[in-house]
Symmetry: D3
């Protein structure tokens, strides 16, 4: 079971259909790229080495929208992350030798509607599968040790933005990913995890008094903890 021992990170296998991955990667092939340092700030800038699609070109916004729609449509992501604001998305390409050294993402950033958002959760949608490149793992340097993440094309990993992480150097092939950030309705990670546990438990119950009571608790906590 994917959730048994890893509720801190959500791995959503095949969240993007293979058809969508194909459409997206084909569209990306037609776009121009530039140095990824442009979207990094402070110390992160010095350790970043990759290429990113230029957001100011036709078609870019369409690809963004397709990815977001797929994520918004995922009950699993909604239940784990409870997003209320989204950043714009970044489409990155790591060629041989490219990498992104250890860094923490900025705590606040620009949302896709121009407002400012708190970056609670980061995600990486894998657009090329593990067979397409060597190295290039997303490595989370967590309070309980390092976790290397390298998923199938179409799979997505979501994790708390406060986690230190890096992308290991690509040793062969090309790694294509889409990355972005969400502000969650629930600021605190421990509380967000409780809501996730509660919602999954409720969904498995019959329509009885237990379910009614738990639904009441769920709604009460959601209001108490939203921010």
């Amino acid at each position: 079971m994917w959730m048994q021992s890893e509720p801190s990170m959500l791995t959503a296998p095949n969240l993007l259909s293979s058809g969508l991955v194909e459409v997206v990667t084909t569209a990306l092939d037609g776009l121009t790229y530039r140095d990824g340092k442009g979207s990094a700030a402070g110390a992160a800038r010095q350790v970043k080495q990759n290429q990113e699609a230029d957001a100011d070109q036709g078609g870019y916004a369409d690809i963004e929208r397709m990815i977001k729609q797929a994520m918004v449509g995922s009950t699993l992501v909604g239940s784990y992350a409870r997003p209320v604001r989204w950043s714009r998305l970044i489409f990155s390409r790591y060629a041989v030798g490219d990498a992104y050294g250890e860094h923490v993402d900025a705590p606040f950033m620009r949302a896709d509607d121009g407002s400012e958002m708190r970056a609670d959760l980061s995600f990486t949608a894998f657009l090329t599968g593990p067979e397409a490149y060597d190295g290039g793992e997303l490595v989370l340097d967590t309070p309980w040790g390092r976790h290397a993440v390298k998923l199938e094309a179409g799979s997505v990993v979501v994790y708390p933005t406060s986690v230190l992480h890096f992308v290991a150097p690509v040793r062969s092939g090309v790694r294509q990913v889409c990355v972005g950030w969400m502000q969650s309705r629930i600021r605190d990670h421990e509380q967000r995890t409780m809501m996730f546990d509660l919602e999954r438990s409720i969904s498995g119950l019959a329509q009885d008094e237990n379910r009614r009571r738990l639904t009441r608790v769920f709604a009460g906590l959601l209001k108490m903890w939203s921010s």
Copy 2:
């Protein structure tokens, strides 16, 4: 069902066995009483008219202990109130014409171990049944209207100490009750109610993954909210 529409107040029918009620009332008959104004403070003093057993006499402490043991032994009370400190108990007698005018209990008081306690919940254990007296209802003047409470001998009502209340004048017979206060592990009433809902729901589930998750949420909230 007692809980359907009244989770703010707990009515525990027959919490004290008829045998215990008999032992207690018999023992109380052998004690001396004094004016109840002695245990009231401030404005409450002026509206109080009843008699209370003198706590400084042999046998008093034994009766107190028996009542507390019965309450501590009640899963229902434990789950609703989560007591961590208890006041000393008061045994009151309302004769014809006696009453206790509208008042709010003090927010902090002395616990039975001499420390100070936050008075979160008040309770009244009825030692004589409704057939023994006319009038004498405990009336709670709640945010949603007045509620008159008059229970069988051995039944107990527990309610938030912040509720304005009064005892209506006794018109015939004698009303005997035992009253006391508890500090709850959970200070906030809304949070305490959520824990109550959560615990009752969990107790009805099978030993599966749902139950494990909810138990984790329950323990996490209990620690987060205890004070």
Copy 3:
């Protein structure tokens, strides 16, 4: 006094003038209605049986604005609810046999400016008086028991959205109401009630040092608790 024992629910008599009620009901007569299930979600959908004016027609927005202006102009509502966001309004008609079974309103919904809002308070403005229909009470199933509400045309009831409630079946005549939701500056009901108590107390004081100090406390709490 309306407030003595019911601060949890606000009943504002004749908040809408009889002239305004007449204008609104006349305008509503000219609108088309559709099945009310369309604006309900989840379990609430199954227990809803009424008609609602279609919001996509000329004149609707004008009626909405008139009602909101009247409510914004009420010091009593402002002081009890402290609204910062409003939902769009719904105009409902319950004919004989119509009802809305027991449900809880959604904790978050769309505000009238398109943003998302926390639904803290619900309100019902009665557009037809009790003489116009039998049954059709709004029944609040509160933690302290059930309260049936059926007011004069022009009167409004405001209550916490978390309260379970239903509309009893209409047995004769037609019940017309306007319902809506507000997000309050103060999320927590207990804190909101304290602000209400504080503001009403201050307004009754002379311009002395007491008033200055209480005003300072009021402003401090308002900032501390706003969310």
Copy 4:
């Protein structure tokens, strides 16, 4: 008025009667003293230069108790500080050249019942008046500038323990003071100030509905904020 612009610090003039001051200073004359560095920790130790009565001798505890009784009996101190735990008291003597350099008191310390306490408020009771010595001011280095405090014998100043402070060198005569610490029922200074404002305002009101409402708010806040 003492309170107008200085609610952060409480100056209680003549809290100790002249008779009590005389009894205490006479008793202190019979005690032995030792280097004050013994009761300081860390960096404070290096900047402390005074003498303190040895707490392990007959009569010391009696003097302590008399001072505490006088302070506990002060409505003003109770309303400003709301003490729930007290440290043991220190009786200091500053001779010519003695001083206590800038320092902050420890955040947690031993209470007089052996338990650990949070040091929320510090106080200095002046046992000799300003005529008895030159220099020796208690200087509070506050967020809004420096405040020199030098009071009559019997007067007491109480201030938040988090404030940086020092005792200026004594240039002639002898400065005798008693210092101690309190844990308040209310941890946060801003909240404690609100309770002080609220209580003083209520005490000036008649026994009407306003007072009842404010008393309810006061009790609710006291329970909500106690820790």
Copy 5:
């Protein structure tokens, strides 16, 4: 050092360049003014006696923008105040005899983008220096006593909006200032001060493990406390 003993108030010397002050005052000379009572509410209205530039005229918005740009460009202001919303600015002129009696600014007001904002911090930018007028001090009536502020042209003072304050009567010359308000990312003043301390300390450290850890704490607190 400017910050040593006054972290509650920020004095930023020469934040506006002399060139900018000249441009602004010249532009202001070309604008029409009206009675300042127009922008005051409630009790403040009665004690206000000055002139303010009419905001509805050409050129006004340009001056506003120049001032805000200068303030946004100040690391010191950013680090002390962490502004996320700004009010519109007011340009005031105090002639001989003008003054603004003791008042507290409103806790909530309109932001320059039309949304509502919490007024956490107030600022006054001095456009004429102390040589240009007698009297006219901005006097803050703080919990630790009164502080008179009268700065060079181009200097700015920022202080918590909750502080009672007044402008003393101008006895000769003309006092010109620009005043405005900010909503801070950090609501609580004590927490905001901690962030200020933390950020200044971090900026003085080398790029080592200490700095990495403190940066992690800083980002964590910023997210935990933002509101």
Copy 6:
């Protein structure tokens, strides 16, 4: 570095000296043991299979005291855990085939002074080294995956009590450990980690203004977060 990527769990190598370990294990050899199920509650009871020294015998309390003194004397443990209450200690022996299945420790338990404590942190002091037995790993089932812990004799691991964990079956030899629980001054794990980061950073700084400021922040947070 031990702390780099694992701040959630503290591994303190050789906290107990080899001399102390020898004294303790020798003393334990003279004690009688009983079935470990006796100290487990609820579901944990069913999965526990080991032996524990009987606490009601001479010498037991001495061993306990020695272990606690060593732990209290560790700056590292103090800084990571900030203990304010301790449970009694348990000395366990796992022979071949013994194990302790997956469980979570109780959220509240009895402290060694008879009061009730919140169990924030659990610890295991290893009394026999990895060479003495096969299997018997303490396995933490964390939100970021499983961590097996098996340390040298005298080393101690401390981890949040909320973590699910188990002891793997011993396949050869005997595993001897001492386990216990602490209530921390800081309830929340994220806050406790920040205090740990802050204290370690401060200890590495020179006695300058930076250190003074950070010390002020540290003391402020300690008071704000203690519970």
